[in-house]
Subunit: 446 residues, 2 copies
């Protein structure tokens, strides 16, 4: 049997490797359009922050390892442009512009996502970069060196934009962040989102909210950015206004799409064609809290999904748990984390949500180094069920969120969560962990 | 109605305060034998570590606040020595050696625990200290100053002993730790326990395991310690060989006792006398994983229990959730955490336990600052249920344990826990959080 995988990043390569481990006789062909496979995409901002590190440090396994020891027929430089479901073939163009066509028994679409572009003049200038592939990372890093970049505008205030702000601040640059909305993270309550702005400004990042970029012009080897209200000249622009799933192949083949034009899959990662699977940033998922389809492209799901597809096509039927959308990132000295639903998401999903925000201490109140941690919880008034949480603080938010994620998986009520016997020692928490304090306060609204 | 509370520490004062908040007309009398109420006992080692801090910084609320604004009849210097259940009175001696007798409608025993003593000659010398009450803390601190203490022996390698090692190292002392067993924490697998020894020795602490202290002698204003195999002279000895519940009052009154001579209580914190409650370090609890009675004296339970008693005596029947025994402490640069059952505890409780230990990285593998984290999981072979966990590492163990604690409260199987959507970002975790890696490895044994 032949298993063909389109896309050689986290999802595709975990599927290919595990399929081969499960069944060494299986023929596994991976078609990857770039020359890079299996790297830590999320590590790129941190790598860019450090001029002494090679971008290739982020490669987890090289193509040679996959081809050699693992026995995977990995074909880089192979761009698939068509899936023929009738004849069960994929076809495309290789690095030498030759056409290829390959038959499959089982197919996995693991094409990931790509950065959204802005339809403005100058977006294609050489100094305007996106960050998605390892090659994008190399381009940014070499541009910084070759153009002696001292200043940058980041367009977009989501995870990647904020991580890139930190990375370029670490490089000692003057950084501006421009965001068209009036906040960074739409799921974060405004009062908590404002802390991000304060953090950025403390680090001398110039923040422009409710501002759009109307065009970019070349300006003596530099870039002139035209904001809706002013203009500025910098050395580099990084565009980070979100990502879109690479689902065109699937759509053209007539597969059913899910939210945000992602590829709809069932809990076995099957698309609407039983011989075609999809996993990773291009595919959707079921949300544990709502039971509804969502598109939340994150790394753990890609890896987990890759393994599950491998099991499924090698006869070990493996359904995949629903997600709760747990995410965390760091921006300068702040940890920002979420899991489950925001208030608005809960409302849209038909719940009767209540929410609260508490401030507590990251350590015992009298303990040196204690900082303020902000905990936001959302619950359903009808059932008392916990629906979601977000957290922000200088320490302890990133790991704390996992306790709430587990509570969501267990469909706990706020009261049940409040009853949990959490850890206490002065260097790590008050006696009542901030999450318990938040739950206790929220109980009063239920 | 009159509510009498014996003991004015965490459990007693939370009960007294909340009872008064619930019902301002309630007469609330607290009888505390010392002069200190409501302080952070767990903060004492950290306070001792810092010569510039006052021990009184650990006081959360003063007696004056309880007496004034809160309207509690708080009587310090009042030592209760008898409970007369027939006549519903308590009696004892006040600070002026006068006898008192007080009638109660509802009584709470919140007498806490006291350090175990060693029956060896010299244990009562002035330089031999225990750490339990705030007064103990003051004594240690003033002894360090008045005797220019430069060296110390800690007897006992549990939480408090290890925290005191850290505190005295911070003060620049030469510290020896002596422990009669061959390990520090009986619930920690030996391979992980050994990391504590290495950590201590890296910080030049002299560790003597499987060693007993046979006597202590005064030696020119210093102390001579006789070990089973050698002797040493130091300035200070801290005895930290465990605690015992102060349950004698309850026992003398004929109340039923639980494990470890703690006072047996039901899920409403009632003792075997329906008008007498017990809570805090003197009382037992039900363990969520085994359903059995256990005595695990920890601060969160004391606070939670105090609130529940207040609700119960003011007509808001409130049962209290079972515990999972989550605990964490820091020793030098190590975080050590546990929740649920150890392998041996699981065996003793009638499970068919399997366990494993994995090593992973506290951050993404390529991320600067990543350190090794060790995760130990215990599960039941018959049901696949997660039974317990322990963790040790330089970062991320203290907060990670809470995710596993919540999983235990939810009676999750290892497979269900493995399915949880935990947070990932390179500064905080590998894509597969070490807890998920541990769960995945343990699944192979189930």
């Amino acid at each position: 049997m032949r298993f063909v995988v389109i896309g050689g990043d986290a999802a595709g390569m975990s599927a290919a490797s595990k399929a081969k481990r499960n069944n060494p006789d299986l023929e596994v062909i991976v078609l990857e359009q770039s020359e890079d496979v299996s790297y830590s995409a999320c590590g790129m901002p941190y790598n860019i922050a450090d001029p002494d590190r090679e971008m290739n440090d982020l490669v987890v396994r090289t193509a040679a390892v996959f081809r050699g020891k693992q026995g995977i027929d990995l074909r880089t430089g192979h761009k698939v442009d068509r899936i023929d479901r009738q004849n069960k073939t994929v076809s495309g163009t290789d690095a030498h512009s030759n056409r290829f066509q390959i038959a499959y028994d089982k197919l996995l679409i693991a094409t990931g996502s790509r950065p959204k572009m802005l339809p403005i003049p100058g977006i294609d200038l050489p100094g305007v970069k996106v960050l998605r592939s390892l090659e994008d990372g190399r381009r940014i890093k070499s541009y910084i060196d070759s153009h002696n970049v001292r200043s940058a505008v980041i367009i977009g205030g989501g995870y990647i934009g904020l991580e890139m702000v930190e990375a370029l601040c670490e490089r000692g640059m003057h950084v501006q962040l421009v965001e068209i909305r009036d906040s960074f993270l739409p799921w974060l309550p405004k009062a908590m989102d404002d802390l991000i702005r304060t953090e950025l400004e403390t680090h001398e990042v110039k923040v422009k909210l409710e501002t759009s970029v109307t065009r970019i012009e070349s300006h003596h080897d530099r870039l002139k950015i035209f904001y809706s209200d002013s203009e500025t000249v910098v050395d580099l622009v990084v565009l980070a206004v979100g990502v879109v799933p690479n689902s065109e192949l699937a759509a053209d083949a007539g597969l059913v799409l899910g939210p945000g034009f992602s590829i709809a899959v069932d809990r076995y990662l099957r698309t609407s064609d039983p011989d075609i699977y999809a996993v990773g940033d291009c595919a959707d998922a079921f949300h544990q809290v709502t039971g509804q389809r969502v598109w939340i492209p994150l790394a753990l799901r890609a890896n987990r999904g890759g393994w599950a597809v491998a099991d499924n096509i090698t006869g070990r039927a493996s359904d995949i748990p629903d997600i709760v959308g747990t995410a965390v990132f760091k921006v300068l000295d702040l940890e920002v984390a979420r899991t489950g639903l925001s208030f608005e998401e809960a409302l849209n999903a038909g719940f009767d949500p209540v929410e609260n925000i508490i401030q507590s201490s990251s350590r015992a109140h009298a303990h040196p180094g204690a900082t303020t941690i902000h905990v936001h919880l959302v619950a359903d008034k009808k059932t008392g069920r916990l629906l979601g949480a977000s957290m922000i603080g200088k320490e302890g938010a990133a790991h704390r969120i996992n306790a709430l994620a587990v509570a969501l998986h267990a469909s706990m009520t706020v009261r049940e969560f409040f009853g949990c016997d959490l850890a206490y020692a002065p260097p790590f928490s008050p006696v009542w962990d901030p999450m318990l304090t938040a739950a206790n306060q929220l109980l009063k609204k239920l």
